[in-house]
């Protein structure tokens, strides 16, 4: 005889449970964590390095590097003298809470700020909670102003949005107002938007200041 069992059970539950444990672990170690998400080439590593340069005198900074291509990014961070754990992400499309737990154990965690550089992808990373405090989404001018309209879940989830490569705006058909309108509509958290350039360094100081003042809370 056949019986139907109603389950109504979320399948991401396991990840969410581990993420909650990560969050407790990070808080116990006095770490504020920032999950940095963007498409490939938007400038995740450049923004992180630019911020580290401005912050390192004032607080401890560490990085979990999850980008998929070898250890180039981790070496850049390491060359800057910052503690870094490289996740061997292989063909992964996102980081999940379990990988972060293992990386966090490898990291000599000190009170301060921890950047987690996610895999370059605007889709799946938005659905996997890592246990971070802040989701920072980076878009860049050459990608076009339609990103918030196409990757709704990502821009809805963002706590901070960074528009990088702003120095290229004169050369590119980028409608900043459409970009801002899309974010204002979809992001009910009213995430602040920072326009920056890692080439000219414009806007990075304001972003660093914002992250550090948030850190004191």
């Amino acid at each position: 005889m056949s019986v139907t069992i109603k389950m109504m059970q979320k399948i991401m539950r396991n990840n969410n449970e581990v993420a909650a444990e990560n969050r407790a672990y990070f808080h116990a170690h006095g770490l504020k964590t920032i999950n940095v998400m963007a498409s490939p080439g938007a400038g995740k590593t450049s923004v992180i390095l630019g911020l580290i340069e401005l912050m390192r005198e004032k607080l401890n900074v560490a990085v979990i590097e999850g980008d998929t291509a070898g250890s180039i990014d981790a070496e850049k961070v390491n060359a800057a003298g910052i503690p870094v754990v490289q996740i061997n992400s292989g063909g992964r499309c996102h980081l999940d809470a379990q990988i972060i737990r293992e990386a966090a154990e490898d990291l000599q965690a000190q009170t301060g700020l921890l950047f987690i550089e996610n895999i370059g992808n605007l889709i799946c990373p938005s659905t996997f909670d890592l246990g971070e405090d802040v989701k920072m989404v980076i878009a860049s001018v050459p990608e076009g102003h339609d990103k918030p309209y196409k990757y709704l879940a990502m821009f809805e989830a963002a706590d901070i949005i960074v528009l990088n490569k702003i120095d290229l705006k004169p050369y590119i058909d980028f409608d900043e107002e459409a970009f801002r309108t899309g974010i204002a509509a979809i992001n009910t958290k009213k995430a602040p938007l920072f326009t920056v350039s890692c080439t000219t360094k414009s806007g990075l100081a304001e972003l660093a200041e914002y992250l550090m003042t948030q850190n004191q809370r």
């Binding site: 109603k6 889709i123 204002a184």
Partner: protein, 113 residues
């Protein structure tokens, strides 16, 4: 490609449920997939066929119900489909908000015997 771990998770959940019910076999599994859940049904099916082999869930039929991503006007409350380049309400010109369901991915029910 993250469907492998997701399917593993799903399989563990349904097998636990079947054991609790004292069932010998799972014949069907109803899944609900939101358009923004970043889960692809074909991949779930592929991994399920591989992973369920030799378990109580082997041969179970997977049913998928899809939830499209839709927007809801924050001013007048009208629901409308997402367009890809505009978040403006066709009715009143207000700003749209994403409705929550499209991010869901869950097991609705299973049939066992």
């Amino acid at each position: 490609m993250h469907e492998l771990s997701v399917t593993q998770n799903m399989l563990e959940l349904v097998l636990t449920e079947a054991d609790k019910a004292g069932a010998a076999r799972i014949t069907s599994i109803k899944l609900v997939i939101g358009e923004l859940s970043s889960v692809i049904d074909e991949s779930i099916q592929l991994y399920f066929d591989m992973l369920s082999e030799g378990t109580k869930a082997a041969g179970a039929h997977l049913h998928f119900r899809y939830i499209p991503a839709s927007l809801s006007c924050s001013t007048c409350g009208k629901d409308f489909p997402k367009s890809g380049s505009d978040f403006t309400c066709p009715e009143c010109g207000g700003w749209a908000r994403l409705t929550g369901d499209a991010k869901d991915f869950y097991i609705d029910s299973i049939e066992v015997e």
